[in-house]
Symmetry: C2
DNA sequence: TGTCTATGTTGACGCCTATCGATACAGGTG
DNA sequence: CACCTGTATCGATAGGCGTCAACATAGACA
């Protein structure tokens, strides 16, 4: 249903102009982080001990529970987070390769 | 009218959960790059020789001229680009500090 | 002054999205 | 089995956003 956005995607933004296809795929990742609530959720997961967090650990961002679930789904669809149910709770963790790819896009910035 | 989004904003996303204020400001930058057309325009400017580009050099992205102008304005408002008119043409260049700040947000990704 | 070119702005349209309440599902406990 | 808790989905609504055509503005040049 939702394939990862291709982790090793593109060269740094400063190297050459992105093609339409590259831009389409890459923009999805940036777009996913372009919402304050999602950014807080993502940061909460990424900074949580063990690299993963239960929804119950991070859902205190000032919006309703369905909205939190909606945003976590968006982050999953963008390939930034993965989820796994273990018993009662669902745990989210960051997708390291995708995050590294995004960092590389901005890395050669100078 | 449009103040820069505070270049040295926040620690890496993996260090600690972002506050609501931090997320609000940071999300604007990611959001600005969350559109394929804007991403192509930004990449075209960033990769252009001399670090700057005339609109006429980069406006071939498959949308109308007003739309290009609209997206360039969004990138300006997000603090990612600056513009300057020199004679007939308007030149855009990347704001290095802001780009570096974004890179830092994703840098410690591991 | 007038005219041409290069950009920016305006107004409108349609789509996308963030948000919520209500509801459904999954898993644990009794 | 029934019940409770944690999480996801559904349906609806309001606002934001990408896009365009039309118009406005700025500079160059005659």
């Amino acid at each position: 249903m939702l394939e990862p956005v291709a982790a090793p995607c593109c060269p740094p933004l400063t190297e050459r102009p992105l093609s339409a296809d590259e831009a389409e795929r890459t923009a999805k990742m940036f777009k996913a982080l372009g919402d304050p609530v999602r950014l807080r959720l993502f940061s909460a997961v990424a900074s949580h001990e063990g690299g993963e967090a239960c929804v119950c650990d991070i859902s205190d961002v000032g919006v309703s529970q369905p909205t939190v679930s909606h945003h976590l789904k968006k982050l999953r669809e963008a390939g930034l987070l993965t989820s796994e149910r273990r018993g009662t709770w669902v745990y989210y963790r960051v997708e390291p390769s995708v995050l590294a790819a995004m960092g590389q896009l901005l890395s050669a910035a100078a």
